[in-house]
Amino acid sequence: METLMAVLVGIAFAASLYMMMRRSIVKLIIGLILLSNAANLLFFTAGGLTRGAPPLIPEGAEAPAGAVADPLPQALILTAIVISFGVLAFALVLIRKAYQVVQADDLDQMKGTDT
């Protein structure tokens, strides 16, 4: 399972970097969306995958019986998803505004502030 997830994360990273290096700003945003999902999946996988053992403590006991899934990575990823959702929403508005101002979906025409 871990191996499969690792390959999947690798493909997601590769695809997002490929998209980010295109000239179109829409593809840049698609690349960024994929990138944040890839990072979240990586976090999830690195935190350890445990199937069918929710971290619940039986009644009367003080610690869960046996090995259970670690709830912390999931909580952290939830935070990261919310943050990247907000940032990507901003990025979408930004490219719309940039498209209105520059009248092109082409990063090569946005070099005015470069050196």
Partner: protein, 504 residues
């Protein structure tokens, strides 16, 4: 409970919320802006005093003790950076009163300013690496919005590069945090430092170190990851540019200092060698870029990169003297950069341009402005009696003691080239006569008066006085940097302070 460590984060958050609630009342927002940044400065000074007296100040959020809860921990480095954040927040808030266009104020300049400061102090004071990521994002989102307020073409173009590259760095940082958690099962920085030594996978640890290095290197603007910085920093109004120049890239530098003195010290020969090469190339490319520019704000943007090289040099040499020099240089450079950007804003107000060919005659009509420009500019170059001289002297001495001739040569060469680039601004903007191209020089020659100009002069004058005072009477600042470096190089005290009192 130590309230003083939470206040520098809570105050800007509270004032940000209050100015958001008062979004229809610009005058009230302005008052809140000055009061909030002033309160932040006072709270940060209180924190620095406590840290100076009692050592590292720690607070566990919700009384969940480390390593389970989120910990705030302030050592001397974090506390002094928080003080500088307050000082610079106050300086830019006062300056914004006179310089920020009313449209920007209507669309949230003041709340965003507070939230940006909250993110920056949060990053300086947190002791948890995932929390550091969160504060980075708070800071970034506020800076995205501040950068794009106004919606001009140049701002949009700059913002796309800024957003894309900073998001890439954030995601790399998040991935590194995930792998760290998988490796040691904790996110508290002190706990990671204590447990990473037991992990017997040197390859993975080195990879992790490189991931943090690249992620923070992008944020700091280190070679070869700095290209977003000169493309975007000069596009917003000058008060915002000054805040970015003074603080944002320094947060990346601070994170590098924290992570590479506390956590990744197993293989110093490998990681810090890379940092040393990065530092040398950063300072040289930065200053060469500055020489190629003809617009004041762009020259200064490249000078930010060059200075980051000096800060990294202190970290890379990794001796007590070098780290003290790096901290001292960072502290004075924050004030220098912000003073230079604010001076550029005054020049723009007087002559209506940032381009060198359209400037001139400033020294003839405004000699005091010339002096206010020269103090931070000479500190940037590293000439006595400014604070920058002490910083560079310490760094170069540390490099010579280590026998690092290459970096010494590059540092001194960079100093010389910096002098050339500063002299270009001085010669074209201040020294020569008023060129014919200037459209409207009535303000400069005093035919027309500007009632709010003193609000722009005041912060620059205070910062210049501080830079001069820190150069002439350098002992307190130098002693502070030395003790801060001592704390960084003895991480066991930090680990004990965070984990000790709550450990079962």
């Amino acid at each position: 409970m130590s309230l003083e460590i939470a206040l520098p984060i809570l105050l800007p958050l509270g004032f940000g919320a209050a100015s958001l609630a008062a979004h229809r009342h610009i005058a009230l927002q302005r008052w809140l802006g000055v009061a909030g940044t002033g309160a932040l400065l006072a709270a940060a000074l209180w924190l620095l005093r406590s840290v100076g007296r009692e050592g590292i100040v720690v607070m566990h959020m919700g009384d969940w003790h480390a390593p389970f809860g989120i910990t705030l921990a302030a050592d001397l480095l974090g506390a002094s950076m928080a003080v500088l954040t307050g000082l610079l927040g106050l300086a830019t808030a006062v300056y914004s009163l006179a310089s920020t266009p009313i449209g920007h104020e209507r669309y949230g300049h003041w709340p965003l300013l507070h939230l940006l400061l909250a993110g920056v102090t949060g990053a300086f004071l947190t002791g948890d690496i995932f929390n550091l990521y969160v504060w980075f994002e708070v800071m970034l989102v506020a800076s995205f919005a501040l950068l794009t307020l106004g919606g001009e073409r140049a701002q949009m173009e700059g913002a796309i590069k800024y957003v894309a590259l900073n998001l890439l760095a954030s995601m790399l940082f998040l991935s590194a945090v995930g792998i760290t958690y998988g490796l040691v099962g904790t996110l508290n920085m002190a706990d990671i430092a204590a447990k990473l030594g037991e992990v017997d996978r040197p390859g993975l640890v080195s990879t992790l170190a490189a991931m943090y290095m690249v992620a923070f290197g992008v944020k700091a603007g280190a070679f070869p990851l700095f290209f977003w910085l000169p493309a975007s920093y000069h596009t917003p109004p000058v008060a915002v540019s000054a805040l970015f120049a003074g603080l944002l890239s320094k947060v990346g530098v601070y994170a590098l200092y924290r992570v590479f003195t506390l956590i990744f010290t197993q293989d110093v020969a490998y990681t810090h060698e890379i940092l040393l090469w990065g530092a040398g190339l950063t300072m040289l490319t930065g200053v060469l870029g500055a020489l190629a520019q003809t617009e004041i704000r762009r020259i200064l943007s490249f000078q930010i990169i060059s200075s980051v090289g000096f800060m990294l040099m202190g970290l890379a040499l990794f001796t007590p003297l070098a780290i003290a020099g790096g901290i001292l240089y960072t502290v004075q450079d924050i004030a220098v950069k912000i003073a230079l950007f604010l001076t550029a804003g005054i020049i723009f107000r007087l002559l209506g341009s940032y381009r060198l060919e359209a400037l001139g005659g400033l020294y003839r009509y405004r000699p005091w402005l010339g002096i206010l420009f020269l103090i931070p500019a000479l500190s940037l170059v590293g000439l006595p009696p400014m604070a920058g001289f002490i910083g560079k002297l310490t760094l170069v001495r540390a490099a010579l003691e280590e026998g690092a001739w290459g970096i010494t040569f590059i540092a001194l060469l960079t100093g010389l080239l910096t002098l050339v680039s500063v002299i270009r601004i001085w010669q074209q903007g201040f020294w020569r006569g008023l060129p014919n191209r200037v459209a409207d020089a009535a303000l400069l020659t005093g035919e027309r008066r500007d009632a709010t100009l003193w609000l722009m002069y005041l912060p620059v004058a205070v910062l210049a006085a501080l830079i001069l005072a820190a150069g002439v009477y350098a002992q307190p600042l130098f002693a502070l940097s030395e003790s801060a470096a001592g704390q960084l190089l003895a991480p066991q005290a930090y680990i004990d302070a965070v984990l000790g009192e709550g450990a079962p």
